[in-house]
Every structure is written in C-alpha cells, then in structure tokens.
C-alpha cells in the first residue's frame, strides 16, 4: 500500500466512530462517578507533525497518557491523553474529594488514574466493536506522566510509518463546573485501519 490518504467520506465515518466511542466512554465515566457528566460533540482532528506537540497545551505541558494495546480482529493501540491538571481533577472526583485538591502520586492515585483511562478507552473500543462487528480486545493499561510532546510522539511515530499527518479525536466533558478535555488517539496499524474502514463500507 502507498501513502494513506483519507477521503471526506472516510473521515465522516471516523468522526462517527469517535462520536460513538467517546459517547460511550463518557456514559461509563458517569456511571463510575455516579454523577451526571456532560459531553461536547467530539472533534475529529488531523494535524501535521510540526503541530503535534502543541495539541495538549504545548509540548512541555505535563500530561497523563494511558495506553492500551489492542488485539483481536484489529491490532494496534489506543491512547487517551489529558493535561495532568485535568487528570488530577478526575482522580479527586473519583475519590470523592474536592476536585481542586492537590494530588500526591502513590499507588492508589496512580491506579485510580489508570482505571479512569481503562474505562474510558475500554468503552470507546467496545462501541467501535459493536458498530463494526469486529472483535476488539484491549490489553492492560499502561500510564505515563510526562511532557506532552514526548507522550504524543508515541502515536505520531505510528502514524509516521504510513502518512504525514496524525488523526485524533478531542472530547470535552464536564462534571458540574469542572471541565476536562480528553484526547483519544486510536492507532490501529495500517492493515487494521483498512479493515476498519472496509467493515463500515468506506473502502472498496
């Protein structure tokens, strides 16, 4: 296969996948928190490598990234990225604390954060699985907290193998007056991408 360029129909399909996936993820989060969580319409974004590190508040902004490997009918991984300050808010909400309280990283808070990522990405994937009929199995989550540029280089490199752009879905959700912006990077390997689009009738 040569360069991987998506047409507008395929982009619409991917946007819809993102919409359904993120919607499902937010519903799962609301259940976990036992609170109402609002979600804005997810934005599908495509950017050049030079812009990648600016995505989550700038290349040096500390972010939390939760990565899950995918196997089954498609393979690759999914990465959920949010600013570290937002990640701390989520942990506090999850632990029934004041969202703006300082969070100390320890086994409990880190595993809480992993669990949030696990649930969000897991439900995102299960929505895609239902939509496509493909078997998508997520693996155990892995968490990294570091500079945005460094975390985002992981999906960027995967995209770099076949294209010069990175595709991701930005989802903004809020609990009460606390706003959290999360970014889903679904990174199937190229063959899986084609499979995904074919299954949805978006590729001949």
């Amino acid at each position: 296969m040569d360069e991987f360029v998506l047409n507008s129909f395929q982009l619409d399909i991917l946007r819809e996948i993102g919409n359904i996936g993120a919607g499902n993820a937010v519903t799962a989060l609301a259940k976990m928190l036992d609170r109402k969580v609002n979600m804005a319409v997810p934005q599908i974004k495509i950017m050049e490598f030079s812009e990648v590190s600016e995505v989550v508040g700038g290349a040096e902004t500390p972010v939390a990234g939760i990565l899950l490997g995918i196997c089954g009918d498609i393979s690759g991984y999914i990465l959920f990225v949010l600013e570290e300050s937002d990640a701390k808010k989520l942990v506090n909400i999850l632990m029934g604390k004041d969202p703006d309280e300082e969070v100390e990283y320890n086994e409990i808070t880190l595993s809480a954060l992993k669990e949030v990522g696990n649930i969000l990405t897991g439900s995102y994937l299960s929505a895609i699985s239902t939509l496509t009929g493909l078997l998508i199995k997520p693996d155990v989550p892995d968490l990294a907290i570091d500079m945005a540029g460094a975390i985002l280089s992981v999906p960027a490199i995967e995209f770099a193998k076949s294209t010069d752009t990175v595709l991701y879905i930005e989802t903004e959700f809020s609990e009460g007056c606390h706003r959290v912006v999360g970014n889903f990077f679904l990174v199937p390997d190229t063959e899986s991408y084609i499979k995904l689009l074919k299954t949805l009738g978006a590729m001949g």
Binding site: S53, D146, M147, A150, I151, A160
Partner: protein
C-alpha cells in the same frame, strides 16, 4: 524566546550560524541529532521519528527518518559552508515512554531510533561525542552554537548539559 532561537519540530531539520540556538521541545521516542561544526560554529538539528526510510511506505518527508534526515541535514550544512571534517554529533532522546510489552515492536522504536542514528553517523564518519538517550522520560533540548553545548531539560530529572 529570543530572536536567535529557532524551533525544530517533529520530522524537521534546521541549521543556523553562530550565534543561533536550536530548540526541540518534548522529545519522546524521537531522537534529536545535533551536529556542530567546531570551526565555523554552525549548528544543525534533526528531529527524527523513525529509523530507516526503506522500512516505511511513505518517504516523502526525508526529515522523518534517521538515514535520510541526517543526510539531509548534513547536505544543507555543507551547502552553507560547514566543513565535514570539523563536524561532531551529540544525540538525545529515544526514550520508551510506555513500558508496555505486548506491543513491544511499536514501543521499542526509541531504542531502534538511537541504534539507527549511531549507525548512520558512523557511516558518515561523524563522531558521536556525547549522548543522553533511552530511559522512559521526555526531554527538551537546546543546542548552542557558541560552544556546541546541548542542554537537556526533563520533568523530574532536572537539567543536564552534554
């Protein structure tokens, strides 16, 4: 940021004369290849993402790969008056941001980027005089034409000069 500071993004190569400074923010698994001409004080920086161009399906952007990226940077520098006999290299980056094992091939890319970078530099007869590579943390690097120093800034591991 001062006037003489130039940013180098992902999959990008830039070079500048003294007193310029080249900067790359948030290197992860990518590798920053810093070339320094000790006589003219010209500096060049390549921000490569993948090891070998022949392994990729899309090679339009030469700066993306260690082999074609370093070659491109060197050519650009020589064209503008650098002398390859005076050029030395420093490299940084190539971290493994996630410890994930089941997708090891995808994740080990940092290590492979460093390996490829060293091999390419060796073939070009450019000595690597210092490096800060590997680990599992991000790095911001600043490269000074004044003395060829490379500053490496991290979250949690402080600032280091090589």
């Amino acid at each position: 940021m001062a006037d003489n500071v130039i940013k180098v993004g992902m999959a990008d190569v830039k070079h500048v004369m003294h007193p310029g400074v080249l900067v790359t923010l948030g290197l992860g698994s990518c590798v920053g290849v810093a070339l320094y001409d000790r006589k003219t004080k010209m500096i060049g920086l390549a921000h490569i993402m993948l090891p070998w161009s022949y392994q990729a399906k899309n090679r339009t952007n030469k700066a993306k790969f260690a082999d074609t990226g370093i070659q491109l940077l060197l050519e650009n520098m020589l064209k503008d008056g650098a002398d390859r006999r005076n050029i030395v290299a420093k490299i940084a980056g190539g971290a493994q941001m996630f410890t994930y094992t089941s997708v090891s091939d995808m994740i080990r890319v940092g290590e492979r980027n460093v390996e490829a970078t060293k091999k390419v530099l060796q073939e070009l007869n450019i000595p690597v005089i210092a490096e800060d590579t590997g680990g599992n943390h991000g790095r911001t690097i600043e490269f000074y034409s004044e003395d060829g120093r490379l500053m490496i800034k991290t979250i949690g591991f402080g600032i280091n000069y090589i």
